[in-house]
Amino acid sequence: MSANLLAIFYLVSGVLFILALRGLSSPETSRQGNLYGIIGMALAIGVTVLSVGNFSTGFLYLILFLLVGGSIGAFIAFKIPMTAMPELVAGFHSLVGLAAVFVAISAFLNPNVFNLGIPGNIKIASLIEMSLGAAIGAITFTGSIIAFLKLRGLMSGSPITFFGQHYLNLLLGISLIGLIYFLCTTQSQNLFWSLIAISLLVGILLIIPIGGADMPVVISMLNSYSGWAAAGIGFTLENSALIITGALVGSSGAILSYIMCKGMNRSFFNVILGGWGATEESGNTSSKEQRPVKSGNSEDAAFLMKNASSVIIVPGYGMAVAQAQHALREMVDALKKNGVKVTYAIHPVAGRMPGHMNVLLAEANVPYDEVFELEEINNDFANCDVAYVIGANDVTNPIAKSDPQSPIYGMPILDVEKSKSVLFVKRSLSPGYAGIDNDLFYRDNTLMLFADAKKMTEDIIKSL
């Protein structure tokens, strides 16, 4: 196959990937979009194999590795519970990162097959490109592993910070640039290995200071990195499919990070440089006096909701933890039978990854046209009878609008406090991730339901 024809096929698969993302603009077109993505991938793999044209023993191993990897992937894809989606995505990112590192190593050790020169005399441009690909890939790899461990609960979700952390990161960052420079002048293998080793370390150091609820930003950021790593490798291999895809994924992750940061009214650097709880030991620890709260039981809640004409559900990470989405949908079905109008309100940073709540609700068969984003629904709270807050906390705290001292001041929140009554399902009065008290607990129109989200929801169903 001629190089030109091959390049055209890669271009076609790049376009198919664009269409795959385009399909996600609405749920109706999304499945078709995914199909385009699969076709694009099959095309890219097919023409690559044909172009190498080596059908000897190596080809059999290729099929073998594809099948083994594919079966593992398929098995995970079918087995994984929807609540575990954030850690799955983090885990997958780490694989892309590591694959990028491996391809870069392979290109460094045997540059002739990619027409990059010979070992010890690789083209400078290629060397820079593969160093960048390898470095970003390595950072993505270890960073995603840490994110995975935190999300899976195998590692504490609280930020890990130590003295001089930022200086160490800065130092390592500078040394990476230095290493790439010297690698280009000396072509030394040892420098290449050191580059990878330091990048692996940077990946760890970058993610450990970031706390649990900032994970949506981290996952999006790692998503972006995995794209840039792919693009770096794409430049090395002079492959347009990789360059296009890398750019798409890179910008996609960057946009998601931006949306998540905006949802918390924080700058990207603020998130990256360390956890909320760690930086500001909460503005209002002084007002620690016990304030009265009203608490109720499932029967009170059932009574309130049954007699309401409209109810808005506000789900958060706690719903995912308690796996309460199915019980929640049953409760809503029961309410609908009583003629109550029910909708769902989702904050951009609810959950542990972008769109986390939407997937869980979809899993529980909640139609997506009953689920609304913050801007779409926020005005409706003023006209709604009951807001049922299940597993969300900081994103409902009215203090974000009123108290400039508060660390979450300025963060867009759901105007839950405007509804006639608020039912707040929570296990205790403990503060949320931001480490601050939720003013909503003490409002006159708030009824606290102290229980596990799933259990409370089930109890309410019984009382309806």
Binding site: G58, S106, G234, G253, N365
Partner: protein
């Protein structure tokens, strides 16, 4: 004067970033999780580099060091490709519009 092919690739790269920017902003927020899993799957197109790395070179010794790294990369990318597309498919299949109650 000839233009360095690198400049062409850079042009593709920059333009793709812009395409990505506009396409991703049009993605509905409720599909952000599938967006992440599908971008994950397509970024595994890095497998094309892995295939070249694994298969190229001499035929007698299939397992030169550079080939081994290629094969390992194929394995990792394959997990991602199948896992990524299938899990996206699974998620997207769950998004349903309002229906009449059974």
């Amino acid at each position: 004067m000839e233009i360095d092919p690198f400049i062409f690739r850079l042009s593709i790269f920059i333009l793709s970033i812009f395409v990505g920017y506009y396409v991703v902003w049009s993605v509905t927020p409720s599909l952000h999780t599938p967006l992440m899993s599908v971008t994950n799957a397509i970024s595994s197109v890095i497998i094309v580099g892995a295939i070249i790395a694994a298969l190229a070179g001499n035929n007698i010794n299939v397992f030169e060091t550079s080939n081994i790294f290629g094969f390992l990369a194929i394995l990792l990318a394959a997990v991602n490709i199948f896992g990524g597309f299938l899990v996206t498919q699974r998620m997207l299949a769950m998004y349903k519009k309002k229906k009449k109650e059974k």
